[in-house]
């Protein structure tokens, strides 16, 4: 048992060590530590305002932790710009959908291929063979990704014209286009019907396996989270109140209290 635990910790892809962030007088997250192993699907839950999104923002460099450190495969991420962190292999979606509103569905995904682009502005001007080949490859790859999420029929539509649920799924596709090692999903199933939700969860599980990535999932619906997550962290008022496999979390009195308190 001890052996597997240390083994897991050594392999951990993402590590947060005692991260704290304050906004003025408000401590949004306090002394939070977590570890996500390669290939793991981890849940992050907590009542409204618990600090889940803030954890995402600290990991992706949108906010800088006031204290503590964020490590990806042992490398410190503190102070890196968000785009650089994405470059290291962390991609995310947003709770309040942030698609590129003036672009088509296709272009939303294509834009995210920028990160691993071999050709730059000069090639865009000369439009040589290698450049056109790369553009073609990106187009193919974009369509493949859209297809996985059953969105390729919308490829020419403006992204804002999509139904709400499809916009959320498009955000996931866009994040995958950056070829991440770790995918952060902020309430990807918000506003979906129960069937849509369970379909999405299957899809997330499928993506995690096929792309061999780790996933950190924020979701309010307990049943959904319990169903697919390997492990779950629970935050309340910025403080971690529980951590463990779904079976333990379900029966943890502090978790029950936090959620009952909310209701």
């Amino acid at each position: 048992m001890a052996g597997t635990l240390t083994g897991r910790l050594m392999e951990s892809l993402l590590k947060l060590n005692n991260c704290t962030i304050r906004f003025g007088g408000l401590t949004a997250v306090s002394c939070f530590s977590m570890a996500i192993a390669k290939g793991e699907l981890v849940g992050l839950i907590g009542p409204n305002g618990a600090g889940k999104t803030t954890v995402f923002n600290m990991v992706t460099g949108v906010y800088r932790p006031t204290e503590g450190e964020v490590l990806l495969a042992g490398e410190r991420l503190n102070g890196l710009k968000p785009y650089a962190i994405t470059g290291k292999g962390i991609a995310r979606t947003f709770q309040n959908i942030r698609l590129f509103g003036s672009l088509t569905v296709f272009d939303n995904v294509r834009a995210a291929f920028n990160l691993h682009l071999k050709h730059g502005p000069i090639h865009a001007l000369t439009r040589g063979k290698a450049f056109l080949n790369e553009e073609g490859a990106i187009e193919k790859r974009t369509l493949e990704l859209l297809k996985i999420f059953n969105l390729e029929r919308f490829r020419k539509a403006m992204c804002k014209s999509l139904p709400y649920g499809d916009q959320r799924r498009l955000e996931i596709v866009r994040a995958l286009a950056t070829e991440p090692k770790l995918l952060l999903l902020d309430e990807p199933a918000a506003g979906m019907t129960p069937t849509e939700k369970s379909n999405l969860m299957k899809l997330i599980e499928f993506v995690r396996e096929t792309f061999d990535i780790s996933v950190l999932l924020v979701e309010h619906d307990m049943r959904v989270v319990m169903g697919i997550c390997h492990r779950i962290y629970v935050l309340d008022y910025g403080v971690q109140i529980a951590e463990g496999p779904p079976s333990e979390i379900r029966s943890d009195p502090r978790v029950i209290e936090a959620y009952l308190g909310e209701a």
């Binding site: 906004f23 999104t53 923002n57 949108v62 906010y63 947003f94």
Partner: protein, 316 residues
């Protein structure tokens, strides 16, 4: 000793110039506070203030004997001041109305649109006001009528202070006191502060945001008009483009003090005025208009919140 007098002299010049910037800056900062947008046309309200005075003065010239006194005497002081005061108050009322109308017609329909659209509209309004004034009243400079006698105040030794400079400083102090009272002690002032703190909460709490915003425009425009009148007493040549540079400098003042912050705007105005005066005094008169931009760039790079501003972080 001479050096001290010289510094004191420049300080007085700087403060009177800075008072003008402060009065204009207040309008920028208050509008930014409630609407989060820079009213590009604010400098032109200042210009319209001067032109209102220019057009109003002849109507009252006979009653108040404008231009007929050479000095203040104990007998005529009150008479002169009430004449000048009347022109100023009327101009302030006219400009307040114009400010409210501009907001109603051009800005309000755009309130939910991207801020850039409002900015573009404001540029349009600014161009419109300048060029309409040019069209109706001519592009050439006009001589502003003498509302108060302007001369060097006696008995100050080597210090040269004009009555007009004194008028600017005193009037600004009075206006600032009134403004402070309005903002801190009245209901509508409270609503203004609440609105700049949180618009949604404010309307949920039953405040009529539209009324508060109109009031803010009225207040800001009135102060700019006062600045226009005061400045024209001191340098009595006005033209339709006179609002451009002071407008931008006052904007810089507002940013310097921390945009959205009322005391900051007044402080920023004084600092810019004094800086500008000293830049000229130490021998770089050609850079007097450049210094404000330099300050702006430095501020935005090193302390974008200004001296008294608070941090606002975008929530993600």
């Amino acid at each position: 000793m001479d050096k001290l007098i010289e510094v004191l002299q420049q300080l007085v010049n700087g403060v009177s110039l800075g008072s003008i910037y402060a009065l204009i800056a207040l309008g920028y900062t208050m509008v930014y506070g409630v609407l989060r947008f820079i009213n590009f046309a604010h400098g032109d309200i200042y210009m319209l203030g001067a032109y209102s005075g220019f057009l109003l003065a002849p109507l009252f010239a006979h009653t108040f004997k404008f231009g007929e006194f050479d000095t203040f005497t104990p007998e005529n002081t009150l008479f002169i001041l009430s004449g000048a005061g009347l022109i100023m108050v009327l101009s302030m009322m006219i400009c307040a109305t114009i400010g409210v109308l501009i907001e109603r017609i051009a800005y309000r329909p755009l309130r939910e649109r991207p801020r850039l659209n409002v900015l573009i509209t404001a540029i349009g309004v600014s161009l419109f006001l300048q060029n309409m004034t040019q069209y109706r009243l001519g592009a050439d400079p006009k001589a502003f009528p003498q509302l108060i006698p302007v001369y060097v105040i006696e008995g100050l030794g080597n210090l040269t202070i004009l009555t007009s400079q004194l008028a600017i400083i005193v009037a600004t102090i009075i206006l600032l006191i009134i403004l402070r009272f309005v903002v801190m002690k009245t209901k509508i002032g409270l609503a203004m502060r609440a609105l700049s703190f949180n618009p949604t909460a404010c309307s949920i709490m039953g405040v009529n945001n539209d009324v508060v915003i109109s009031f803010t425009f009225a207040l800001g425009s009135a102060l700019a008009a006062a600045a226009g009148i005061l400045v024209s007493m001191d340098s009595p040549s006005i033209n339709p483009l006179m609002g451009n540079l002071p407008g931008i400098k006052a904007f810089v003042a507002a940013v310097l003090g921390g945009i959205g912050n009322i005391s900051g705007a007044a402080l920023g105005g004084l600092i810019i005025g004094i800086l500008e005066t000293f830049v000229v005094a130490i021998g770089f008169p050609q850079w007097r208009d450049g210094i404000a931009f330099a300050v702006l760039i430095v501020i935005l790079l090193f302390k974008p919140t200004g001296i008294l501003g608070r941090v606002e972080r975008e929530k993600v």
